[in-house]
Structures are given as structure tokens and as C-alpha cells.
Symmetry: C2
Amino acid sequence: MRLTDTLIKKFATTTILALTVSYATAEPLTLNPLLIEQQGSFAVGGTVKTSEGTYNPRPDITTGKTSNDFMDVFKANITNGGQTLHGDHATIAYQIPSNAKQLPLVFLHGAGQSMRTWQTTPDGREGWNNIFLRKNYAVYLVDQPRRGWSGRSTVDGFISAIADDQFWFAQFRMGEYPKFFNGVAFPQDAISLDQFFRQMTPNTGAFDVDIISDSLKALFKRIGNGVLITHSQGGIAGWFAGIKATKNVKAIVAIEPGNFPFPEGEVPATIESAFGDIMPAKVSQADFAKLTKMPIIIYFGDNIADTPSTIQGEDQWRIRLALANQWADIINNHGGDVRVVHLPKVGIKGNTHFMMQDLNNSEVADHLASWLQEKGLDK
Amino acid sequence: MRLTDTLIKKFATTTILALTVSYATAEPLTLNPLLIEQQGSFAVGGTVKTSEGTYNPRPDITTGKTSNDFMDVFKANITNGGQTLHGDHATIAYQIPSNAKQLPLVFLHGAGQSMRTWQTTPDGREGWNNIFLRKNYAVYLVDQPRRGWSGRSTVDGFISAIADDQFWFAQFRMGEYPKFFNGVAFPQDAISLDQFFRQMTPNTGAFDVDIISDSLKALFKRIGNGVLITHSQGGIAGWFAGIKATKNVKAIVAIEPGNFPFPEGEVPATIESAFGDIMPAKVSQADFAKLTKMPIIIYFGDNIADTPSTIQGEDQWRIRLALANQWADIINNHGGDVRVVHLPKVGIKGNTHFMMQDLNNSEVADHLASWLQEKGLDK
């Protein structure tokens, strides 16, 4: 299957060209095919809720009203009790390449995202899914409970169709809408930004860190040892997954996590931001100690302020980067192995909150791959 | 990455064995690796909604309240107007194998499902995604607008956590819960059924055939010619995609579609069922004529009654199979090329509504592959 010449010519007259070329023609010329030993999807974790009554497969229903939508049948029949709801599971898509390394990588997205975070970038380049497959890692992508493919929830959900793209543009440090930050490593054409916004997908039930970390525990029980890679809000569930599945989680990689679990008695003061303060999370000393058992690396990108800023993204990640450094000091004092990498300080510039999709996403991936090698996790 | 011996031994003592073996060890012994030239994901179609007001990246907000959840920041800031919402798009996951045939296959799921329908089966075998990749077809899987990864909707949505698994068990012709039909080609262990129920994922906004078929039109505009394969409720959007993208949709394969678009003046009577009638859908003669331009095959599985039945699944698909035969007669009279395949009549037995996942899913896939070859669509 190839785009026809006609189609390419048609696209060539528009700004879609950059996307089309990288997506449909450039990659096959430069990249080898992926050799995939196994791939598929499955659910892990979750619970079962049962309604009152006794299920009768032959309920006494009268003929339904005339309809061209079979959902009316459903509505007529659903008063039938004693039924189950399977919900609150995570859904996993996995690929195992030929000659896979021993430890797979498990990827958990952040707020408002699904496993799409790790796939094709908004401008059509390969995301970390493909990049790490090419480095011979097995890859497990997670849609957390009540998000994306895992939409079936045991609690009701209301989804507000609120227009908030510009909030996220600011929060994710692309710039001050409609201006991008100078030198930002995010594609700045309209099509890429459109694609980026369309990655967003809402919670279908209340966000629940316990349920999410339980599903990750179930995943590691199924697949055995691995490295957990989290993004943003997913970082919080990731710390608890490390606490709940300490034996199997051989390392945690946290991309700009939303918060950090401090041990009782050593919780620092809330850090203030004009755009919303962050109250540090708290866990028991016993749980905290479990996070000293595995190497941890935490990445932050560019355009993060040192001192309070009137720019939302700069200021919001200022307070989290400060918290990350405080947390790293405490956990390392307890015998842990945490490294905080502020990318501009190691010469990697321009990164947004989505460094796995930025123009230099392969450079960031290489940095991570070096760390995995340094920790002996790449066998 | 391999399951450890310990884990396999542990699983071996439980009913999970069948799943573990087929999933983790049997397949790599018998199947060759997949050679994937390109893979990724992207959004197509959709719209943009804009809120009133003017966006100000530096709103005059007071310090947010202390919080350990950054969503509070969001809530504090969201009163800021002039923002956009990108929604109502479809999301596509694609894989292009080496030596791909000219025409890719585009797969659209049914009600309450996502592209998971086409991936790993509930008992861990390969689904049609892998099966058709192995037949050298490029595969495009769709999450329709307002479902799964495409959760961002331009209208509010309410999701009811209603317990309805047994309704679907009946509707999908697995049997009369908790009994399976005799000889049904669906795995009958508890783990497989649990996995099956966890494939379900709700609408995040109202189901809208126009929006879905528009997104398919946008997909075909992007990828060019292809074959559209729909399941169940997706069949309805599929017919309209055929009407809207007639030049690119080179064939339609409809797995037990929910309804059929009859031409004005030739709409048959509503067919009654104790479990809900079906009123045939209606389109203009001009639109109907477009569906005569491409070969169409429609599949129905087993356990479908010839005459009214007190068993929900048997009766619900009785009326749709009857409608399918009426529709095929009319469209073939208009110069179309529609074939209705009732699988038991061609010796393929036991199929549920999910024939792409049933124990004999590769047999059904082979039947379809033969038809594609017969129609010259496998070059």
C-alpha cells in the first residue's frame, strides 16, 4: 500500500506536505522493518460489580417499539437484574520484537491522554513505542482504568465538552498560545498541533490512583519483571505501582511526574505557584522504603523557570522540578538511587512536557537507553 | 522477554493455563515473526469548537488553593474563554507489512467496542489484525469518534455504570447465560469470558452515524483506496462511508451489520421481534446507487433462528439476516454485487456475533480472503 502519485502531488501543494513525506515516504527509505515476534492486547486488573435481582435470559418483555437503533432493545431489556459489569481494568497493547531484551518496558500515559502518547508523533515521526522496539525492548503500552480502551468504569461518569486546548498548550509548555516558545522542540505547523490536540481523551469515570496502580500490579504479576515508564499524572500511579509491585518493578522512569510520595515526618512545605500550589504527597516510611529498592530516573524538559514566573507552564513545572530535587535528596539519603535529569543542563534543549514526541524525541530516548545500560537493565 | 519458569509452573496449577500457553509460548513456536514496514497512529476527521471570549495566556488568577491534584489548577484556569476543543475525530492504528498488497483493510468495530475487537482474542489467540497482516494486507484499525482513544467529543456525555454483561452475552449469541449454546465456537473458560467483557468500552458522547462516516471518508481521503470491514453497529456507518467515499471504498465486508440502507420507494416492512423490532433504514435512490458500485459481502454466524424464537440472540439476528437477504435482492436487482454468507450453510459452524474472535476465526478469515481474491482485491 502506497500513496498514489496523484495524491502526493495534491498534498504537495499544501502545508500537509511535511507530514505526508515523513509519514508515507521518508520512513520506509531510512528505517528497517520491525521484526515482531508477538503482538496483541489484553486486560489486567479491574473488578466486577453485580446488580440486584436474578438474571433471567428469557424475561417477560413485550414487543419493543419500532426502531432503527438496536440500542432500544437494550433499553427495553436492561431492567433485567442480576447482571455483572466488568470494569476498572487497564488495557494493554504489547509488542515483543525478535531477540528481545529480558526486561520489557511498560509505558503509562498522563492526564487526558491514552497510550497514543507513546505512538506516532503529531508530525508523523516514530514515537517511543517504535524507537524502543528498534532498541530490542519489548513494549507494553497501558490505557489506564477509565481512559481510552479501558473506558468501562464501575462508577458513573460525566464528560464535559469544555474547550480547554489553550490551557493544555500552556500547561504542556509549548508556549503562550498562539506563540510557541523560542526554540521549542515541538513541530509548529497547524496540522501537527491539530493532531496533538486530538490525542486528548477524557476520563470515563473518576481518576483513581489506587485502581490504576492496582492494575499495574496485576500487569507485572502477569508479565514478570520490567521497567515502568510514566508520564505526568501517570507518575503518581507509577510510584504506587513501585510500592505495590516492588519485586517486579526493576526501575522507574518518570517523565515530568505530577507529584512525589514523601515519607511521613519528612514531607516538605507546599510550594506555591500563582497557577495552583502543589501539596507534596505523603506515604508511610515503610512504603517509602520500597522505592529505595529500584533505580529511578526523573526527566524534566526546557522552559522551566528558576524563580516564580507569570507564564503558566514555566511556573507550574518550576514547582514540580523543585519538589523532584527535594524528593531525590530524601530518597537518596535513605539509600535509594534517584537521578533528576533537567535536560537543558545535559545539553538537550527545547523540550516540552511531551519529550517523547518532541522533535528530538530520539535524543531523549538515547539518554534514557544509556541510563538503562548503566543500570544493567538492558541485558 | 519470556514468562519465567516459576510463573508458568504457578499458572499451570490453575485454569489460566490454556491462556498462558497459547499466549506466551505456543505462538512463538508455530508462527513466524511479523515483518512491519511502518506502524503508528493518527487522527482523522473531526471538528473544532471554540468557546466565547478571548484567550489570555496570562489570566488574572489568584493563587490556587493548596492541592495535590493538578486538575485543581485546571479548574481554576478554565474560566479563561476563547479556547478550542478538537473533537469528534476517529483515531487510527495502522500497520503496513513488508510486501503489502495494494489495497489496505480498514476495520470498524461495533457497539460498545473499540479496535480491540480485531486484536488478540479473549483466549489469547491472534485476531484478524495479525491474521490479515500475515496475509500481507496493510491493516488500519479505527476507534470511531466518541469511543476509545477518540473520546474527545464536542457534546457532553454521561456514562452509566450499568451492569449489562448478560444482555450482551445474549445479544452476541454466546448462549443463554450462564449456559453457552451447544457447539458454540467461543472459548468457555471463565478467564476468556472475563477478557471478553473487558473489551467493552462506552460512548463518551452521543453515537452519531454522520460523524463516524465522515471520519471514515477523511480516512480514505488520506490513505486512498481500500476495503472497509465493519462489525455490527459499525455496519450502519460503513454503508454511509461507502456512499460518501464511493471512489475509494473498493469493497465492503459487513460482519452481522445492525441495519441496511434501503432505497426510497423500496423499503420493506419492519420486521418484528419480541426483543425489539427493526425498522429498515432509508436512503435516496441516488445514494443507494453508489452502493451498487462496489462488491459487498455480508457474514452471519450460527444459532440464528429461521422463525421467531424465545431466545434473544437467535431472534434478534433472525430479523437482521432476513433484512440482509431482502436488501441483497434489491441491490442486486439494481446492478449491485452483494453476497450474504450464512456461515453454517457453507459448513462453518458455531459462530457468535464475534466471528473475528471465535475459535474458528482463522477459518472465517480464510473464507473472506478467498472472496477478496475472487473479486481481484488481493493484488
